[in-house]
Symmetry: C2
Subunit: 241 residues, 2 copies
């Protein structure tokens, strides 16, 4: 399993992803699920993936090959983030279908993807690309997208994420959302990767946080303490007064 | 869908349940999913149910009939909470199996149950009874049980619930867990029912909270505000300093 999310606020985009992959409970590995495509001054994209790891790796290879060979449609020349998302969807369906045909198996070779980024002169955008190849963007009312094990980490996003929230507060919220999922689902695990794409910079900043990273450790402690304080700040029941 | 939970702390038991049932998105009704069985001075049980509503209602009827007819095994004479849970499991399997045979259908007539309570002279206990009829109790490490749509409301329970937590703080935590689920899953909805069984009282107190109940409204506002404060209290990223 996997948990990835992308948040779009007025100040830019934030991405979060875990690094645990498991073919079985006794076959657990650490893989980066966040892939950056940066073209200085032109455009910057972050791709997040959940699902079949072989399909993901084949897809990332394909994306780089298409860029290197200046294919008619690739991440560097797509006219819009939407066009890039559709290109990714078509490529992911093609690869997973080829794998299924080769294997003659009912195993699931599909992937769910999130693509976020900005093209110079355009607005930042995030897209969720379904295993079927089609895609949706975020909305002002729901300015975040999730793939994989999405439920545990959703309540804090529902409560906190608004377009007006600062980029770094949005990243703190992503951290909490990821950490809640780590606690509740063993198949999603640290270290976690955060990526920042501040609006109009076209420059991605990466941060990897592991359990022994002081920043992450401190954040967990403060969050747990503040949750207990918040609980105790809730109103008294009538008979407690 | 449904979301019910029971929490066992040193001071006693707390139960939470939503009231929304849906046969389809255009067939939504409000039903109490929390059923109390109180025998003053002897014992007190709370039953929570998720799953097929007809099976639940037939089960509750059966439980009352067995008590009224002083059946060899019923909720009033079961030797322990575990014996009561096993009795419930057997009855629920029998009823759902009979419904399936009558219908000759593959529809799911089964239910998941939580039974919590205390028998005079014994300790308070909570049990989760699976649709298959078997059951598990809580543990000191995980002193809560959930049925139905359990994921959205689990992170706050994982963070906050410990046996030492006060009964009313545990109830505030149940409220937050329920509210998180309301926000994220339309098939779980208010009003919500809380039930309190303080240790050694054998007396159940009920509280129904709806969106327009001032207590609930105030709790939601305070919680949202405290969550934003908690996010802002998390450490700065290196480049923010």
């Amino acid at each position: 399993m996997t948990y990835c999310l992308a948040i779009k606020v007025d100040e830019g985009l934030v991405f979060g992803s875990d690094t645990r992959t498991s073919a079985a409970v006794d076959d657990v590995r650490t893989y980066n699920k966040s892939h950056a495509f940066e073209f200085a001054g032109e455009r910057a994209f972050v791709l997040l993936s959940a699902g079949n790891l072989a399909t993901t790796q084949a897809l990332v290879q394909r994306l780089h090959q298409d860029i290197d060979s200046a294919a008619p449609l690739n991440l560097r020349n797509a006219r819009s983030a939407f066009a890039a998302a559709e290109y990714l969807g078509a490529a992911s369906v093609e690869i997973s279908r080829a794998s299924a045909q080769l294997a003659q198996s009912s195993a699931d070779f599909r992937v769910s993807l999130i693509l976020g980024g900005q093209i110079a002169g355009q607005k930042p955008e995030i897209y969720l690309i379904y295993p079927e190849g089609n895609c949706i963007s975020s909305s002002p009312e729901t300015p975040f997208l999730q793939i994989g094990e999405v439920k545990y980490g959703k309540p804090i996003l529902d409560r906190a994420i608004r377009p007006q929230l600062g980029l770094h507060d949005a990243a703190r919220c992503a951290l909490v959302s990821m950490d809640a999922t780590f606690k509740s689902n063993l198949s999603v695990g640290p270290p976690l990767d955060l990526a920042f794409l501040p609006r109009d910079t076209l420059k991605i900043t990466h941060l990897r946080l592991d359990l022994d990273t002081p920043f992450y450790h401190e954040a967990k402690e403060i969050w747990n303490q503040k949750q207990m304080e918040a609980l105790r700040a809730l109103p008294r029941f009538p008979w407690e007064r």
